[in-house]
């Protein structure tokens, strides 16, 4: 479903992604872990070209996004804004700081893109929005403004908003890092349900329990490269790399069954 090859990204002189390649199969839930500054968030943002990258390509469901390879010369060609916007419809992203539109109600937040971008009729879009709100457990909040919701509620609205575009791939960028611990559970539960329902997802998180329980595959990044990837049971119990062992040590010491 997702294929990233050789992505290189620098911020000025700081090379944040040093040639990252990642594949995600349809229906697979991949969790990316690693220390701060490892490039995890940048990697995610490159997928739907919220960040531009100097080298590499990204394809989703076989379609390139951001750059395509010119068949004649083999070099990258940047796609037009219209093509990029169309490709972005296939990908839903949920951010650490929710990023709801504060001047719109919850319902308007969710239907804005389906109506204006996809041309879905208002009645149909609103019906779907209410279904999604029920899915994330917020049916009674449709007419509220985001400012009146807790962080966990806003985040769940953000998930519903992303799902409203019927994406083939969902990206989650440390979506619980800004939440009070007591609100984290409700968001992770929503994500777990999505994974069970077969959504292809790439999740960047510090929540190791979630990674262990929900991931089909775990990817460990550091210094702009993927250091190790594998099945959760294997990564947590017997990591191949010393660095991963060290990183997971605190979690394993506390929670080893």
């Amino acid at each position: 479903m997702l294929a990233m090859t050789g992505v290189v990204k620098s911020f000025g002189t700081n090379q944040v992604l040093r040639g990252v390649s990642l594949s995600v199969a349809a229906g697979e839930a991949v969790v990316v872990i690693g220390p701060s500054g490892s490039g995890k968030t940048t990697l995610l943002r490159c997928i739907n070209l919220l960040e531009d990258y100097e080298q590499g390509t990204v394809t989703v469901d076989g379609m390139p996004i951001g750059y395509r390879i010119d068949p004649r010369g083999g070099q990258r060609v940047r796609m037009s804004e219209r093509e990029i916007a169309a490709a972005r419809e296939m990908i839903g992203i949920v951010f650490q700081s929710y990023n709801l539109f504060p001047h719109m109600t919850v319902l308007q937040n969710i239907v804005a893109a389906p109506i204006r971008v996809k041309g879905v009729p208002r009645a149909k879009a609103e019906a779907r929005a209410r279904d999604l709100l029920a899915l994330v457990g917020l049916s009674d909040k449709a007419q509220e403004y985001p400012v009146r919701l807790s962080g966990g509620q806003q985040q769940r609205v953000a998930i519903a908003r992303a799902l409203a575009m019927d994406p083939k791939l969902m990206l989650f960028d440390e979506v619980t890092s800004a939440l009070d611990p007591e609100l984290v559970g409700e968001v992770l539960a929503a994500m777990q349900q999505l994974a069970r329902d077969g959504m292809t997802m790439v999740v960047v998180t510090h929540e190791m329990s979630f990674a262990r329980d929900v991931a089909d595959r775990i990817v460990f990044m550091e210094g702009g490269v993927i250091v190790e990837e594998g099945q959760p049971e294997q990564m947590f119990a017997a990591p191949k790399t010393e660095r991963v062992r060290q990183f997971l040590k605190r979690y394993n010491d506390r929670y080893r069954i």
Binding site: G92, F95, F101, A112, V117, K118
Partner: protein
């Protein structure tokens, strides 16, 4: 008490007419100033480098020269250039151009103070630039810009008093005429001050109402 305030009580209606001219002048200037200010803000945020450099020069000139000097300068310049423009409209043009600069900065601040995250969220939903500007960025930017914008409008109303220096008639000029006739500057200018205050305070109250309303959803 009534006897000492007789001059004001006799001439307040004349002052009201002057205030009417003040409001007319201000209204005629606010509309082009706002439209131009909005356009300039878009140039400043989205325009190409040459356009933005030209804009910087314009802002620099406006911010560096007092409005009074500009008004007087244009007032004496116009007849020399042969442009046949009634003084009222000459003043309106100068004030529009002057305040457009400040308004453009207010609108620009509204746009630029929106977090990048709003752009990210809109783009990631597949919105293209025109759509996201129209439904995400501008509505929020205008809400943010409304209170300082109203404040600028109040400033503009007060600035109309400067045209009395070049002999144009409005509230301040009317007040000076009455003072010359009645030799009672204190009470006449007290009256004028009260009228200006009523106009500007009403605008300030509206600005505060807009400010409170803009907090909905922020």
């Amino acid at each position: 008490m009534m006897k000492t305030f007789a001059p004001l009580l006799h001439s307040y209606w004349y002052l009201f007419r002057g205030a009417g001219m003040t409001l007319l002048m201000a209204a005629a200037s606010v509309v082009p100033a706002t439209l131009l200010g909005g356009a300039l803000a878009l140039v400043h945020v989205f325009g190409r480098r040459t356009a933005r450099s030209a804009l910087q020069v314009y802002l620099f000139v406006v911010r560096g020269i007092p409005l009074l000097v500009l008004l007087t300068f244009v007032y004496y310049l116009l007849p020399l250039t042969g442009i046949d423009l009634p003084p009222f409209w000459g003043v309106v043009v100068v004030m529009s151009l002057y305040y457009a600069a400040f308004m453009s900065e207010v609108f620009r601040a509204g746009i630029e103070s929106l977090p990048q995250a709003q752009w990210d969220a809109a783009r990631s939903l597949g919105m293209q630039r025109h759509l996201l500007l129209r439904i995400i960025i501008f509505p929020q930017a205008l809400r943010l810009a409304a209170p300082p914008f109203v404040s600028l409008c109040a400033n503009l109303v007060k600035a109309t008093s400067l045209v009395s220096i070049v002999g144009l008639w409005e509230l301040t000029m009317a007040s000076r005429e009455v003072v010359e006739r009645t030799l009672a500057p204190f009470q006449i200018f007290l009256g004028a001050a009260l009228i200006y205050f009523c106009i500007c305070y009403t605008m300030a109250l509206y600005g505060r109402f807009l400010e409170r309303r803009s907090l909905v959803g922020h």
